[in-house]
């Protein structure tokens, strides 16, 4: 039985226009969001392939250590470089903002689209070009500089893949800048009249704070990569000590972006967490203002801590001390958020849906990720852990365990709105379990390996180094993680064709995206001017049964999202604005 607020059998944004060009040349933020989502997933599979290559190489006994050839070592160096670059530039940085943000933000604002829809489309096309340039490196050589591209190695005798890769990253940077710019203007200018800043859902605060970082930090990596290109192709000398330049200068420029970049990755995940915990505790988020303000605080503080990646670069003691102190400042707002989410569950009505399970597990994963950051912020211990697997484990816990799991949780959460189908069952939860166990098994041993001295970016260690047991369990964990994530993807694809048809509000959220039919019509809403109050006042909707989900307590007579109102076919006529030019 199809819920009355489900439009799968009528016209909606998915079926309003057909054909490749109607998708590739669309300016509809929902279609762009979906295309980003699938593109990011495809890139994740590519990056994941290289991750498995890394772990397989490091499996004890996989490689004859004593006779490992230069070709084998070069292949390994290429694997970790491509894994890092693809995962960071093509997957995690765009993920939540470009895929979920594009889909959800205008609807959450009661708007018809983002401020600059054609710029949005351009952003997506830039992503594709950047992706092609990266993958182009596979055909012309062996990119092996690490995703950090440090000179003099990257500008010296390595091959020309560096040129293609830095160009790709440069273009991807613009994709990110334009996405951020779009969201800033959208959130400033396209809120409904009575949605004041402090009545915005917290996901929008998170996207806004992320966008601020995107526009301020990304241009700096742009110019850094441009300088690297110019150094490599024209020997300009800015980073070359033989010509008077300073290689550490590149590190400063690089990390000035790349540290804020990690907050581009995590802040949207935290935004998803706020939505999940409120909806699935069926009460307002605890400490709304704290969370909103801490999002901005994290965005701003993120710009003043980059030197903690360079404690051992030869920079002065004074600089290292200052950066260490400032780094702790960014830990406090993050901790505050975690406490607020937990407090939201207190005296709530907690539902164990798939998105919420991802959300709750992030408390564990971000807990470990964030706390292990303390060891790295502390100068005394950082000396021991710098460039060891301790760092690798730390950043995977925050980037994968928190940002990626946040992305996946968000996909499951908004999936009914995107495709009009439910994906929340025993299989989706089993997939989570395998991914969670696999992830922890992969990375927990790496903390210990790292504190025992195991360096990063090594193509092998040999048994006498004593790291075999850590590498063994880590590889086993990676295989389990791969199975779990593949299963999660499988459950989503299955649901697209066979999932139970979803009502417009299956979870009981009261933010505006749940007030429109599912999947939404092309221009998102059919009635104007919503009364907007507290975005987390759960009393505004009530449960009407599994099929109809949650419906407004005081429905408007003309609201097609209420079961009793006959849905007039004229509401769903395809509009000409969104047809391909």
């Amino acid at each position: 039985m199809t819920p009355s607020t489900n439009t799968l059998e009528r016209t909606n944004y998915l079926n309003a226009t057909k054909g490749f060009m109607s998708w590739f040349w669309t300016i509809d933020h929902k279609r762009l969001g979906l295309m980003y989502m699938w593109s990011v997933i495809a890139a994740f599979i590519l990056g994941g392939f290289f991750a498995l290559k890394i772990r397989m190489t490091l499996m004890p006994g996989a490689v004859d250590f004593a006779n490992q050839t230069a070709e084998q070592m070069n292949a390994y160096n290429n694997a970790f470089t491509v894994h890092g670059a693809v995962m960071i530039f093509l997957v995690i940085i765009p993920s939540i903002p470009a895929a979920l943000g594009n889909f959800v933000v205008p609807i959450m604002l009661g708007a018809k689209d983002v401020a600059f829809p054609r710029l949005n489309r351009f952003s997506y096309h830039l992503w594709i070009i950047g992706a092609l340039l990266f993958t182009g490196t596979f055909f012309i050589g062996n990119l092996d500089t690490g995703w950090t591209f440090y000179p003099p190695y990257s500008t010296g005798s390595t091959d020309n893949t560096v040129i293609l890769a830095t160009l790709g990253a440069f273009i991807l940077g613009f994709s990110s800048i334009f996405t951020g710019l779009n969201f800033i203007v959208t959130i400033h200018k396209m809120r409904p009249a009575n949605m004041t800043w402090f009545r915005m859902p917290l996901f929008l605060w998170a996207i806004y704070a992320t966008a601020v970082i995107q526009i301020l930090a990304t241009p700096v990596i742009g110019i850094s990569l441009l300088l690297l290109l110019v150094e490599k192709t024209m020997s300009i000398g800015i980073f070359n000590p033989e010509l008077g330049g300073d290689p550490v200068f590149f590190q400063h420029l690089f990390w000035f972006y790349s540290h804020p970049a990690v907050y581009i990755m995590i802040l949207p995940g935290m935004g998803v967490m706020s939505e999940l915990f409120a909806t699935f505790s069926r009460k307002p988020i605890f400490g709304y203002k704290s969370i909103a303000m801490s999002s901005l605080a994290i965005a701003l503080f993120s710009f003043i801590v980059w030197g903690h990646h360079m404690f051992l670069s030869g920079q002065s003691q004074l600089m290292s001390v200052i950066f260490s102190a400032l780094t702790f400042s960014v830990a406090v707002p993050s901790a505050i958020k975690v406490f607020n989410w937990i407090a939201t569950m207190y005296k709530g009505s907690v539902a164990f849906t798939t998105p919420m399970i991802y959300g709750m597990s992030i408390i564990w994963l971000f807990g470990i990720g964030g706390l292990t950051g303390l060891f790295l912020a502390t100068l005394g211990t950082d000396v021991q852990f710098h460039d060891t697997y301790f760092v690798v484990a730390h950043f995977h816990y925050v980037m994968v365990g928190s940002a990626l799991f946040g992305f996946i949780g968000g996909i499951y959460y908004w999936w009914p709105k995107m495709y009009g189908r439910m994906a929340d069952n025993a299989m989706t939860k089993l997939a989570w379990l395998l991914a969670f166990i696999g992830f922890n098994l992969t990375f927990l041993p790496q903390f210990v390996g790292g504190s025992r001295g195991m360096p990063r970016r090594y193509a092998g260690y040999g048994t006498e180094a004593g790291y075999d047991s850590f590498n063994y369990w880590s590889t086993i964990g990676a295989m389990i993680l791969a199975v779990g994530l593949t299963m999660a993807l499988g459950t989503l694809i299955y649901s697209m064709f066979r999932g139970r048809k979803a009502p417009s509000n299956p979870w009981g959220g009261v933010t505006l995206e749940w007030q429109t039919p599912t999947p939404p019509p092309e221009h998102n809403f059919e009635i104007d001017a919503f009364p907007v109050g507290d975005p987390y006042d759960m009393n505004l909707c009530e449960y009407k049964g599994e099929e109809e989900g949650f419906l407004p307590v005081n429905p408007r007579a003309d609201d097609p999202c209420v079961a009793d109102v006959a849905i007039d076919p004229v509401y769903f006529e395809p509009e000409s604005e969104n047809a391909p030019a």
């Binding site: 526009i215 241009p219 300073d246 509009e575 604005e577």
Partner: protein, 259 residues
């Protein structure tokens, strides 16, 4: 970035309310559209400032470390040409600002003239830049190791204006003949030119982008597309041009006027 203002578009909403000709389908009012465009271009200009910032940081860093090198090398830049370029760009900012006013008042012919003048100034700027750059390539005052060619050249080959720079203050505050400067000093000269070419080169690329933008605006202005209720694109394009001018205002004294 003026992709916000839609081309003349007749799409209705099926809601029965009047939809102004220049209003894009996703905006409610012209004020919202214009305000969005304004915020958008200012945000974009902020990203441009940050884009140049790393180069200014490089300049500051290397000049603070090697002040005498920068002072000496700056002599090789033609201050007169730089000054002419400054005036040309300032004038072009005036013409484009005037053009925005023309658009606001619906003065189509003056708008086209002003846009054309702005373009001409931009072209003039690039022409002078071309002269400066080709001079440098010819003399061999380039970045990195190339600058050493100043010193290795047969004295008979050195041009008249280069011969003026036959002495310089070295790192110890002494005036010495150029050929006697120590190798480390000479190596670091390349840094000045690296910064010079990166800064002026990136700026030049932005001038070229600006020229493309101005040409597009001019073509649309010739079709009388702009008027009192629809001048956002000119306004935003003008703002971009002002930033390009502003960056040059900083570049000129920093690079040309320090010796």
């Amino acid at each position: 970035m003026s992709s916000t203002t839609a081309d003349a578009h007749a799409g209705g909403h099926g809601h029965g309310h009047d939809h102004p000709k220049h209003l894009a389908h996703h905006f409610e009012t012209l004020e919202q559209q214009y305000g969005s465009g304004k915020l958008g271009i200012w945000t974009f200009l902020l990203t441009e400032v940050l884009f140049f910032s790393a180069l200014f940081v490089a300049y500051t860093m290397y000049r603070a470390q090697y002040p005498e090198v920068f002072q000496f090398a700056s002599q090789y830049l033609d201050t007169n040409l730089g000054a002419i370029n400054t005036i040309v760009l300032l004038f072009s900012s005036l013409t484009v600002a005037w053009g925005v006013r023309n658009a606001m008042l619906g003065q189509h012919k003056m708008l086209c003239i002003n846009l054309l003048l702005t373009l001409a100034c931009a072209g003039g700027f690039m022409g002078i830049k071309y002269v400066e750059y080709s001079h440098k390539f010819h003399e061999g005052t380039l970045w990195g190791g190339h600058v050493d060619s100043i010193f290795k050249a047969d004295p008979a080959d050195i041009s008249e204006d280069m011969k003026e720079h036959s002495h310089a203050w070295n790192g110890d505050g002494e005036l010495v003949a150029v050929k006697d400067l120590d190798p480390v000093f000479r190596q670091r000269l390349g840094l000045f030119f690296a910064v010079y070419f990166c800064l002026t080169g990136l700026h030049g690329i932005h001038v070229l982008i600006g020229m493309i933008l101005l040409t597009w605006l001019l073509l649309r202005a010739m079709k009388k597309e702009f008027g009192p209720d629809h001048f956002g694109a000119i306004d935003f394009g003008g703002l971009y041009w002002h930033l390009v001018d502003l960056i040059w205002i900083f570049l000129f004294p920093l690079l040309y006027l320090i010796s």
